[in-house]
Symmetry: C2
Subunit: 575 residues, 2 copies
């Protein structure tokens, strides 16, 4: 059975399916979400209006035996940035959709009634139901309730109170294989889902057609060595499994690129207390899981389960960026508080990066002092309760700044910067400035080359080579986001031509094609340019590709400054 | 003595004066503030950063015997809109500055110390003093304290708590001849003053050089018939004196252009209770002042003093837009509540138009219901107290919408629309969309021609002729803002070539020039283009010249819709 496009019209409360049109064939994941947004969403529309569309698309390799291929792309026009937005997440939904032969799920319109709905996707299509029971519930309860009702095999996409209240930093939660939470974190896609009044989407792939691989033998010949290459690589095969992404606390602290106290310093005195090594020891001593995968087929296993002192579950999949944000950025050197914060943010459904940076601006404004962990936890709960201050924090770091007269607000296109100081890791600064998504570290993740010396080396403190590096990585990442592979396969795949060839081999084998690795990779360039065109049509200009002024201040210990000229930044788009 | 430019550097806490450079000669008011902003402020800077400048400039005719010439222009990059901003106000400050020979007062930089200052301007220059006593005080107390201390002849510019907290809708208050309050209302210039840590500016013109008129005889020959023309005109000579600007409630209600319930209807059932006629009767019965001037030399006298039932002062200069906003827009049909609201907004120093529209969005979000007058008063006090919700409202209508997931937010370039529905009065829609200031009714006030049939007639419900009308009026208004004349002289002056000639005669007589009326008027075009260029350099595009999508909904009673194409709107800039 050929793949289908499913549409849900929330204005008419009807659903339909259609064959994949010619123009969308060969696309998946971010390639499909961004292309559909560009073709069907008016670039100047209000992101919370009926004219926006929310699109989910599994990657091209979803549910195949390819390792780490279970990422789901979600796309729309972002209520946080006003740009096009793709945010991808692990969890089980991508594979469920792929096994149902669903190439993309497009949600359109807005209901006229002020009531919430749920979507039920199975082998017979999509059903829309009015939802009463779970409205107002937080994500863990939603997940628990639905797995109890429908079994733990189903895929779930849900929003918490942040999404219901259409907060611009609201995320979309995805059930992971253990019934815990992964997130389409960035850009407020949970608010788009909330505006469309969808509390959750349950996906049951039982009896679905499954996925088709045209040349299974050829696929296997590539997928096995591809997996071996990931395992063999010191980063994807060892560091990430041992310490999770939080391995980076010590690394960034040593390099002077760990933004501290709302980006005032590049090193944090409490780094050791929140490092990946400390995290691992704590997890092991409390009988948590030091590593596990966010989706079936993940062999990198950077996720983990963090327990409290009594051995009870607190959170899972706690990332370096979250730990950095509450840790160094807010000067809170207590992993238990940070883990509780991570739990609350997952539970209320709010992007952790946007929120930790917003919390830094809250501290900058003097609402609570830097280092006030209990205060930060209290304010997170205010987001869930929708208090006036909670609403402001839930609208992101920019909103906190604008309502409190604060100019030290680390955002680009109104989206918060992440855990890498752009002055001390200049490649990241170019990615923050130029990404089509607003500031986004994963869009072109220069840490391997700038810091880890993986895939070459470009001195992080010098301007030379950063624009080219970011461009190369942004194209490569867009390509990976099309395949549905985790960005961390990039350590092994992006720069080793042999591994990149294996990826192309799998893509060719799946669909009976015969494209070169370079041709496949070129898809990344094409999609990036489509996204850029959408943003230009929405009214963005190169004036938006700028870091805030305060990054001209030197950051210790290197006293590095943000010193790119406008022309240098703008040369990024010389494709 | 030749006029001077005074500079205050708040970083170094030093002041200086300089001769007027050639490039600024022949400019005044908005012409000078906008030119200086365009030449000296980086278009992409953060409006609250050290790189912004706050500029005050009296108009070309300030302190001359020309009637209604006492408006003061304030200019900066706006923290509300991100555009260039000029906001002018009556009161006594313009004439004081002009009599001191101060062509412009330019305030630069930011102090390093977290303390407030005051500026004292007199014949010897500008002195900067640390200010402790009045910090945190509201405007009426500031005015009272300073006139007690320095006499009631001084000019005062001050900010209230909204400005101190750098709220994006904070205004700058100006003392009027009675010691009451006029406002540089729009665009958050009070936040710029607050960011520069200036609580107030006291201006003492005693012993100043006064103003010079090169040909006094010629000036008088023009100024006398010019004043007569204003008095003779039915709008500026009669309606405005009788009813104030609030004469418009009934007129707009009848025409179906009175935005009601957050722009859902064009007529308000309670219009009669808040009309200019009712206002006048109420004022007279309570022994208030039905008319007075906001500055010496005003012969239109649209301002008034409103007393409570016991005959005690409540507020003065209560404008149609304020009464409309709390009245029709928020469905509060009680003049006493609206007058108290006006008092509070003056006292805390917040733009009334932005705030009334923000209050409509607050009601849209369900925080308080439409029609809840006591609730609205309570929330205004929250602005003054800086509560989280007060901060959000103080950041303007857009901020309330963004933090509450509301798309029905009547703003352009993040500044609130005013008291004229753009669907039923289409000329105003073009002005809202295209003004260099963000949505601003005074920028090109089409009501005379669209509604009052003064200076021609263009059917308000049809598209034909509106772009040309708005363009003509925006150029004419910019010209008036350069002269320092009140916009209401436009009723008589803009469209009667004889009256326009008298204005040119006064300008020529004052400075010994010999330009035609058309040459003088062309200054308006030049300055408008300078402002537009600044906005383009700040990253604005024609995509920002758009009304919110909801204006495509028909508005009763005419069921008019906003139906201009993008091309039609953009043709505005075919100068």
């Amino acid at each position: 059975m050929a793949d289908k496009i499913y549409r849900v019209n929330m204005t008419t409360l009807t659903t339909s399916s259609e064959d994949v049109p010619e123009k969308w064939k060969g696309l998946g994941g971010r390639g499909l979400t961004s292309t559909i947004v560009a073709q069907e969403v008016k670039p100047t529309c209000d992101p919370l209006s009926k004219d926006n569309k929310l699109i989910f698309a599994p990657g091209l390799l979803a549910a195949t035996p390819c390792a780490n291929s279970g990422r789901l792309s979600a796309g729309a026009k972002s209520p946080l940035t006003g740009t096009i937005k793709e945010s991808n997440a692990g969890g089980t939904a991508a594979q469920c959709l792929a096994r149902l032969g669903i190439k993309a799920l497009i949600i359109e319109g807005l209901p006229e009634k002020d009531t919430f709905y749920s979507l039920h996707v199975d082998k017979n299509g999509v059903t829309i139901r009015e939802e009463k029971e779970l409205v107002g519930k937080w994500n863990y309860e939603v997940m628990k309730n639905l797995t109890k009702k429908h079994g733990d095999k189903i895929g779930i996409l849900s929003i918490g109170p942040a999404g219901e209240m259409c907060m611009a930093a609201a995320n979309i939660s995805v059930k992971d294989p253990d019934g815990n939470i992964r997130s389409h974190g960035r850009g407020g896609l949970g608010a788009v889902m909330g505006s469309k009044k969808i509390k959750y989407i349950a996906i049951d792939d039982a009896g679905g057609p499954g996925i088709q691989i045209v040349d299974k033998e050829k696929f296997k010949k590539a997928s096995v060595p591809f997996a071996k290459a990931l395992v063999k690589h010191p980063v994807s095969g060892e560091s990430l499994k041992l310490y999770g992404t939080n391995v980076l606390v010590n690394i960034l602290n040593e390099s002077g690129g760990l933004p501290t106290r709302n980006f005032r310093d590049g090193q944090f005195a409490g780094a050791n207390k929140i490092s990946g090594e400390t995290l691992r020891d704590t997890i092991i001593s409390r009988k948590g899981k030091p590593h596990h995968g966010c989706h079936a087929g993940c062999i990198i296993q950077c996720s983990q389960v963090y327990n409290d002192k009594d051995g009870n579950y607190v959170t899972s999949g706690i990332e370096y960026e979250t730990i950095w944000g509450f840790g160094a950025n807010c000067c809170i050197d207590d992993l238990d508080i940070i883990a509780e914060a991570d739990h609350i943010m997952d539970d209320i459904g709010i992007d952790s990066i946007e929120t930790v940076v917003a919390m830094g601006v809250v501290m900058e404004a003097g609402i609570i002092p830097f280092g006030d962990g209990p205060g930060a936890l209290r304010l997170l709960k205010e987001i869930g309760a929708g208090t006036p201050l909670g609403r402001t924090i839930g609208a992101g770091a920019g909103a906190v700044g604008r309502t409190h007269g604060i100019t030290r607000v680390p955002v680009v296109k109104n989206q918060a910067l992440s855990a890498y100081d752009p002055r001390a890791v200049k490649g990241m600064g170019i990615t923050y400035a130029t990404s089509t998504m607003g500031s986004d570290h994963t869009a072109g993740y220069c840490i391997p080359v700038n810091i880890l010396k993986v895939g070459g080396y470009v001195d992080p403190l010098k301007k030379e080579g950063q624009v080219e590096l970011s461009r190369r990585l942004q194209i490569g990442t867009t390509y990976l986001d099309i395949t549905g592979l985790c960005v961390f396969v990039g350590f092994a795949a992006l720069d080793d031509p042999a591994v990149a060839s294996l990826l192309a081999d799998m893509l060719n084998a799946k669909d009976g094609l015969n494209k070169t690795a370079e041709e496949w990779r070129a898809l990344g360039r094409t999609v990036l340019l489509i996204e850029h065109e959408f943003n230009l049509a929405a009214g963005f200009t190169n004036k938006d590709d700028r870091l805030p002024e305060f990054f001209k201040e030197p950051v210790p210990p290197h006293n590095a400054v943000w010193d790119f000229t406008e022309e240098e930044i703008d040369s990024f788009w010389n494709f």
